[in-house]
């Protein structure tokens, strides 16, 4: 019996050697995809571009003069087919699980619904769903990937770092999938555009990607509106997602400006008393620190401080209310009010959920703010 077991053991060991089937892939047989771009082409099919790093170019000192990445594109009827077509063009196996970013070109999302894309994302186990999804405005996503960034070795990395550093962590594709599956929330997707500015003294820059606001998507993940630079900070605050760091406002009399840093931003949704689900209050909370004061206010005076706090609250409230109104007009509930009402009034919600995009427009949303001025900085009055 013992001998039989030994024999079995040996056989077991030998089988794979003989069959030669193995999932063994050397790292230098892999192409690491860092970014993916999806564009629409004329004949109705889609074009997928993959940004692939070239490891040998990343070795010490090499990255300065030669490209450290390549962008390869191919057309296909869906993402998988296009990827297969790309695979045929390059000598290494595509490895998409380290992807940082998915960029979707304007031409694509003007014509198609994004939820077609995300089936592939959620189904394939090799996707981590940790990558960021962005829209590229005013151009093809492919060109975005082709850009060379002055600081980072690929634009995808630059864009994701840019979002991270500006407090926009919560825009991964997982979040997008969750938002799009839930009935009472519509996703916000960050929008980037390419800005042509000279940032380097030596050579002419081809342009750098710049964060340019949010796209508001509807239930089918089709963009229905855009929020610009200034509105988007408030929108992401109201949606309970990203955090924006600072705000600058003119002082009452129009002379001089006040700048605050905001921290510990918080948001909550409340129904107005009276149990009418159609009246909702978005309450925001934050702590403000005065950083810059060119309005020649004496901040050692208690009354001035209270005055400033009141004014700041009113200013922000007005600002955000405008954003809310704009979003509401588009009919896409990016704030998750529907989700709130779903939890608060589940039975009422059952009647509403199918036409929530239309019903959302009729909800009366009020913004309330409670921002505390925590500190006026290390000097009291103006330095004279």
């Amino acid at each position: 019996m013992k001998r039989f077991f030994m024999l079995l053991c040996v056989l077991l060991m030998v089988t794979p050697c003989v069959s030669g089937c193995s999932d063994f892939v050397e790292p230098n047989q892999l192409a690491f995809v860092i970014g993916t771009a999806v564009d629409q082409v004329q004949d109705g099919s889609i074009e997928v571009s993959l940004q692939v790093v070239i490891p040998s170019q990343l070795q010490k000192g090499n990255s300065t003069n030669s490209e450290s990445f390549i962008v390869i594109s191919a057309k296909g009827r869906d993402v998988f087919e296009a990827s297969q077509n790309i695979q045929r063009k390059i000598p290494r196996r595509l490895m998409t699980s380290h992807r940082i970013l998915i960029a979707i070109g304007e031409s694509y999302f003007q014509k198609n619904e994004l939820n077609l894309l995300f089936d592939k994302l959620a189904r394939d186990p090799s996707n981590t769903l940790r990558d960021v999804v962005i829209l590229i405005k005013g151009g093809r996503a492919k060109d975005f990937l082709r850009l060379k960034h002055p600081m980072e070795y690929v634009t995808s990395l630059a864009a994701s770092k840019e979002m991270n550093i500006n407090g926009l962590q919560d825009f991964t594709s997982r979040q997008l999938v969750i938002d799009s599956l839930s009935q009472g929330t519509r996703p916000l997707v960050p929008v980037f555009k390419v800005e042509h500015k000279t940032v380097s003294s030596q050579k002419k820059s081809e342009g750098i990607p710049v964060f340019a606001g949010f796209a508001v998507l509807n239930k089918k993940l089709k963009p229905v509106g855009f929020l610009n630079d200034t509105e988007c900070a408030g929108a992401s605050w109201l949606a309970g997602k990203g955090m924006f760091q600072g705000i600058t406002m003119p002082w009452k009399n129009g002379k001089g400006m006040l700048s605050f840093r905001l921290s510990r931003l918080d948001r909550s949704i409340r129904s107005v008393r009276g149990q009418d689900p159609k009246q909702v209050v978005l309450a925001i909370k934050a702590q403000a620190y005065l950083l810059e004061n060119t309005a020649s206010l004496d901040m050692t005076d208690m009354n001035t401080v209270i005055d400033v706090q009141k004014y700041m609250n009113a200013y922000i409230r007005k600002d955000l209310q405008a954003t809310v109104n704009k979003v509401q007009k588009s009919g896409s509930d990016v704030f998750g009010i529907g989700e709130y009402l779903h939890r608060k009034h589940p039975i009422w919600w059952k009647r509403q959920r199918d036409e929530w995009d239309a019903n959302f427009k009729t909800v009366q949303v009020t913004v309330k703010s409670d921002i505390q001025l925590r500190s006026v900085g290390v000097i009291g009055g103006e330095l004279k």
Partner: protein, 367 residues
Amino acid sequence: MKVSGYQMFWLINISSMIMVSYLPIQLAAREARQDCWISMLLGSLVMLAVTWIMLRICMQHKDKTLVVFIKDLLGTVLGKLVVFVYFLLWFMQMAMIAKGMAEFQSLVMLHNTPMLFVLVCMLFLVAYAVYRGGITAVSRCAEVIGPFFVSVLFAQLFLNPQGMDMKRVLPVYYDSGWYLILKGTFYSMNYLVDPSIILMLFFFAENKRTAARGIMWGTAVAMAWGVITTLVLLFVTGPRMAAEMIVPVYSLTKFVSILNFIQNIDAFFIPLWLLGAFIKLGVGLFILSYGLSQWTGIKNWKLIACLTTVVWLAYLLYSGHEIRLTNTLRSLFLVGGLYPFAYIVLPLLFWLIGSIRQHRKSSGSPS
């Protein structure tokens, strides 16, 4: 071959957690959406009650295995027939876990390696363990693996704090209603644990009292883990996504990301899950072969273990081609017929007959 109470705890705990991590969450989520944790909770309570009943039966027949005492209760012919139902059940469960394991591996990790090889290696290890030391080997392995397995499985639930949103389970009840919640319970509870293995295992317990305590605790911890996992899954992904996921526990580990560096702990999760599955299969193979040896009267259960492994492998290979055989998990015959019959009706019957016998004996003896 004796198993201590502590070992019993780990044996039952690991096998139950393997079961919980494999199927029921997904089955419950599909029916009851964000209320699937209630389904899981109800299912867990039912299963705990069933485990308790099984233990009562075992306590009535302390020094006999299922095969032996069932003969006393129901007579030889009927007893043998009923035991065969349990044999079938265990065999199906072993096949299900082994198949699920191999399929999962080929889906997630090994796309080109033939499934046969993965399977043969695993079955060889299981058979080897049973052959070398029977339940002793399996239970000793269990108590080594157990602490790691359980602590990692519990810890990974809390490694995703920034992704969690407690509000995602709300509103409770209104969206699904009792019908769907109970339907979720109905489907999922049969795959939560396999309480019937106790009927065989308890015979090997060294100290019946501590073993009984170990079994109850083992089941309870696994059940608690199941409910918490369901909740965390809902917190992290929301009900819609949870319902769509095939292997939710695995997907949950994929979402973990701490400091953008500690991510992909699935790399540790998968080997650990394999270790757990090994215990589950080892227990299954042992009780099946030991039971068969008592059933047939062939003394050499080690030989039967080897033969069973061969049959098991053959069945797995055959069922791999027959796609219909793999999709029987939700079939009404199993869920509505076999499982309740084996888990609830039969044990209650055994308990009743056993109690009546005992009662009669105790009242009859003084006269």
